[in-house]
């Protein structure tokens, strides 16, 4: 019994050490000074902001997640506090008709069947994009994709989405 408890204690200590060098929650006190005032000014009605570190390749970023007026925001800042990327969820019906038509024309050309699950406005390094989460059927196989369009609805690129299995133990 004592050895089992000792093993568990060692396991937890090991995990805590591992967690320190991975994506983790950040105390706002540790952030570059410009980040919080930027969020307060640009999103005055935001709810509680959660901050994390995120590594893309070898570059470290600070990620801020919050909601304002029921819209979800996800902002990435570099280590100097400069804004790198902004993501905001958007109901599909808020897209302009011309953009919607262009997007659907492209999706119809690619998939036998499809369904748009989520739309996000993305601003990446000054470039404005729409990111769509899509469930689509190609050659009889259903899969999930992130598909990018510019602000005129022109196709930019596609990434495959890897699903996580539903948590289940025993």
């Amino acid at each position: 019994m004592r050895s089992v408890l000792l093993m568990l204690a060692l396991l937890i200590a090991n995990l805590a050490l591992q967690a320190q060098d991975s994506d983790r929650k950040v105390n706002p006190d540790k952030l570059p000074a410009s980040i919080l005032p930027y969020i307060d000014q640009k999103y005055p009605d935001h709810d509680r902001v959660h901050f994390y570190t995120e590594k893309i390749g070898d570059t470290l970023y600070y990620e801020a997640k919050f909601e304002q007026h029921e819209d979800e925001y996800d902002l990435l800042f570099d280590v100097d506090g400069n804004l790198y990327e902004t993501e905001k969820t958007l109901p599909e019906h808020e897209l302009k008709e011309a953009i919607k038509d262009s997007i659907h024309t492209y999706l119809k050309s690619q998939f036998e069947e499809y369904k748009i699950l989520k739309v996000q406005e993305v601003e990446l390094k000054g470039r404005l994009l729409y990111e769509l989460n899509v469930k689509g059927k190609k050659k009889g196989n259903k899969a999930y994709y992130e598909i990018y369009f510019d602000r005129k609805g022109k196709y930019v690129g596609t990434e495959d989405v890897i699903l996580n299995s539903i948590p289940s133990m025993f």
Binding site: K25, I166, P167
Partner: protein, 244 residues
């Protein structure tokens, strides 16, 4: 009159013989899930059920004991974010460290369907098991089958999604129905669990909760209750992952 007296005595005798057992212990568990392909994951799960408190029940002494070793490997096919099917081979050894051990080989198939209910994610899991439980007297492994239904929920305690450094809640109730083969009752077991977990990041999730396992332990329908503190380490990483 004598017949009535006999029946009365029989009832009293049965009452005295009734032996509901209650144990208290811990259940350490490790679960690792990883990707085989875009649509297929594997899971490896191992746990041990330990009766941690010695006690005397109806004059019988029950020392601390490892009650069960459970090793489960499974393959999961992800039809969608809300619908998975899985199949498994599982090895279970009851009383693994003592002479009264018993082995079991088990195959199962299951599906899980997840949906939202008032912003809470609810999971429904149905599992069909083919169990081959060792008969130590004959050395045979006769097959029995069992159906399990688990109704569960799992949701973050901070915000809409579970992020690194945040806590989550996990709870379920699972009903066990023995369908064929040797059995003490059709509705033979019930497990209830509630726990809180913490997402550490790359180190996975650590979860701790209370698990109550109730099982019908004999044809007289006596109940064995296990009150367990379950401590789980849940990892989800891929050995060959491309860098972003």
């Amino acid at each position: 009159m004598r017949a009535l007296l006999s029946i009365l005595l029989l009832c009293v005798s049965l009452q005295l013989a009734a032996q509901n057992l209650t144990y208290y212990g811990i259940l350490p568990a490790i679960s690792q899930t990883g990707r085989i392909s875009k649509k297929v994951d594997y899971n490896f799960f191992i746990s041990s059920t330990i009766d941690a408190i010695p006690e005397t029940i109806n004059g019988v002494y029950y020392p601390t004991k490892d009650l069960q070793l459970y090793i489960q490997s499974s393959g999961i096919y992800k039809f969608s974010p809300n619908f998975n099917v899985a199949g498994s081979y599982t090895y279970q050894r009851n009383n693994p460290l003592t002479a009264d051990y018993g082995n079991e080989h088990r195959f199962w198939e299951q599906f899980i369907f997840a949906h939202s209910f008032y912003k809470v994610k609810v999971t429904n899991r149905v599992r069909y098991e083919q169990r081959f439980i060792e008969n130590r007297t004959t050395g045979e492994y006769p097959m029995s089958t069992r159906l399990r239904y688990q109704l569960g929920t799992n949701f973050p305690l901070q915000g809409k999604t579970l992020d690194v450094g945040e806590f989550y809640f996990n709870a379920y109730n699972e009903f066990y129905f023995s369908l064929s083969g040797a059995k003490n009752a059709t509705y033979s077991e019930n497990w209830t669990y509630a726990g809180v977990g913490y997402h550490t990041g790359k180190g996975g999730k650590i979860e701790m909760g209370y698990l109550m396992q109730k099982a019908v332990r004999n044809p007289a329908k006596d109940i064995r209750t296990l009150n367990l503190i379950q401590i789980s380490w849940i990892t989800n990483f891929n050995f060959f992952q491309k860098k972003k």
